[in-house]
């Protein structure tokens, strides 16, 4: 019964919309995430449909891995949605093959109003001098600190510009005083061990054209791996084995994160995940957020401002302008962003960010303030990972650096060398 009423109302709406000369539009939107994100996104979509009765949106969502399997398949069949969520490490693969639509025409005709978005944010979605994707939130790697554990151990919180040597010393201290790991998981991630270490030297992993490795000296990576091995050996950091067996491993589970369970006092996380980790840890815990360590005090930051994820309009879309209009709403509408609650990272539009900062919870605010600080001295955002990065990451970086080094099969020196050789071969298109 209700359904029928709704249908009639909908019909009436559609007709009145038609009377005003508005065309009926169907949009398809797809994203990955977990339930919190699904709920918020669906609410925003419903809000948009209420404000734009001529638009009817169908949507679909899945977990990260399923999402990409599905999108890849749909691309092959020419069935991509109008708007798809994109990932910084994958976008080049999609752009290079002409699957994404440049947004510049829509920016020019002000369908997509980006006046309040900083240039570095736009740059992060720019490939071949065209804007292909708009960041849904600013993000940066950070070190999350368990303030209570630091207090208990009598160790002062590190400064924002602390160094890798400080990290090692503090982790050892925490371990000695509390018997827990000083620093928890997250270290096997390539962004941290590989990319951040070179950003801190003012270098990038890949050359701008994505055809070769840009850094010349393996030393930074090797030193970092040696430090990690020392920490693991001393018991001040969980071993990789520990990560595989107990800290989530394949299934991935924030609730088992070492900092959540109190087994460590420092953990490297993306800033948009601070809220996730804090929520999982439960009420009554106190956290602080600092920069990634640097190579030397007062030196260059290892952090860069990463788009947490993007929205892109696909070239298979039949309603590109309408799709751009939806992205505009997403970026600039305060109500929509209140619903989204910065779960995808700190909003990129300045006025939306200012409005939200007033109302978000203290934990979310930690992320906002952190992004403000990072914005001041971040390393320049490197171009999105080149095509071939996925191959390097999955078939070279993970099996060699992440597995063989931490299982003691090969030395960091040998691993860095192999990584260089194999990555270079892939990038050269061999």
């Amino acid at each position: 019964m209700n359904k029928r009423i709704a249908a009639i109302l909908f019909l009436a709406l559609a007709l009145s919309a038609g009377a005003f000369g508005q065309k009926k539009v169907d949009l398809k939107i797809a994203w990955w995430g977990s339930q919190v994100r699904h709920e918020a996104t669906i609410k925003v979509i419903e809000l948009y449909q209420r404000l734009n009765p001529n638009v009817s949106i169908t949507y679909e969502f899945a977990g990260f891995d399923d999402y990409w399997t599905k999108m890849t398949t749909m691309a092959a069949g020419g069935q991509l949605p109008d708007v798809m969520q994109q990932d910084y490490s994958r976008i080049a693969e999609w752009q290079k093959r002409g699957l994404l639509e440049p947004l510049d025409p829509f920016v020019a005709d002000r369908t997509l109003k980006l006046g309040g978005v900083a240039k570095p944010v736009l740059d992060s979605g720019t490939l071949d001098k065209k804007l292909y994707a708009l960041s849904l939130g600013s993000n940066s790697y950070c070190m999350m600190l368990d303030v209570d554990a630091f207090k208990k151990a009598g160790v002062p919180l590190p400064a924002q510009d602390w160094t890798w040597a400080d990290l090692e010393r503090i982790a050892m201290q925490l371990h000695a005083k509390l018997g827990i790991w000083g620093v928890g998981g997250g270290f096997e991630v390539d962004e941290l061990a590989w990319k951040a270490n070179y950003l801190g030297l003012g270098q990038t992993m890949y050359t701008p054209d994505g055809k070769a490795l840009a850094y010349k000296d393996d030393k930074a990576l090797v030193d970092f791996l040696h430090m990690m091995l020392r920490l693991v050996k001393a018991g001040a950091a969980p071993s990789y084995q520990e990560y595989l067996a107990n800290l989530g491993g394949a299934t991935g589970n924030v609730q088992l994160d070492a900092i959540v369970t109190g087994k460590s006092a420092i953990e490297a996380v993306w800033s948009n995940q601070v809220i996730t980790v804090a929520t999982a840890a439960g009420a009554g815990r106190n956290f602080a957020v600092v920069h990634l360590p640097r190579h030397k005090k007062g030196g260059m930051a290892s952090n860069f401002m990463k788009p947490s994820m993007f929205f892109s309009v696909t070239s298979q879309s039949k309603n590109k302008a309408e799709a751009a209009k939806f992205i505009d709403f997403w970026t600039n509408d305060v109500e929509a962003n209140k619903i989204l609650n910065a779960e995808r990272g700190v909003p990129v539009d300045a006025s939306v960010r200012a409005a939200l900062k007033e109302i978000v919870s203290p934990v979310v605010k930690l992320g906002f303030e952190y992004i403000d600080r990072v914005a001041k001295d971040a390393a320049p955002t490197p171009p999105p990972e080149p095509a071939g990065h996925a191959n390097i990451r999955q078939n070279v970086y993970v099996p060699i650096i992440r597995e063989q080094v931490f299982y003691g099969v090969i030395s960091p020196e040998e691993a860095a060398k192999q990584l260089r050789e194999k990555a270079a071969a892939i990038l050269a298109g061999k």
Partner: protein
Amino acid sequence: MRAESRSARLAREACFYLAASLSSLAMIYPILWLAASSLKAPDELWRKVYSLVPERLTWANYTKGWSGFGGIRFEVFYRNSAIYAGLGTLFAVVSSAFVAYGFARIEFRGKGFWFACMLLTLMIPPQIQIIPQYVMFAKIGWVNSYLPLIVPKLFGQAFFVFMFVQFLRGIPRELDEAAAIDGAGRLTVFARILLPLLKPALFTGSIFSLYWTWNEFMTPLIYLNSPRRYTLSMALRSFSDPSGLTDWGAIFAMSFLSLVPIFALFVAFQRYLVQGIATTGLKG
């Protein structure tokens, strides 16, 4: 049997029941664990993960889980899965039995070749067929619907065909030959004589098919595009994302609920599995 003394038999029976009970404990641990976990509060869930006794019972996981997402409650996913598993099983089992009769009982040219082809289709990892299949279904406009999931089941499933063939070959030919002499056509022989004899195999196949379609996630993931059409297994998977906050309690609760129909069907129909064929007593 008669030679055995009463006490020896009693001891033997006692041994059987003891061993069977102990091992079945290990067997149902997962289900008990799932049930227990679905009743734990979130703060307890990951503390003593293996414990089968919740410190305090909560139904919140069920109410939260059932509410689904975006206003789509779990009954929608249940309905979708029930339709898919029900129709899929009916089609797959009936068509497979039909095809199996052809392979098991009729001599014709090319039989060996086609049978080998059928087995070969089982040996290609399904993951590699996803893209070409999708492209094909996209060309005929079937994506975003249940058609690519259900229609293929009308043409027999290789696993079941092979299974039924093996069962048919175990049934003496005299039975159908006698009927053929009485003038019955092949269809009649198949439907009246062999299908009833195949009953245990048909029920076994139905149970497998039900459970496979119920749990399948890759095909629904690829072909179904609106959450309203999601099946249970797909909905359960979209609950979680490694980087996000996952409501595990709700996942466990809904996973447990999703097992109930399949397990209940098994319990309800298992007597047909064991009825055996029309021949007399089966005491070993």
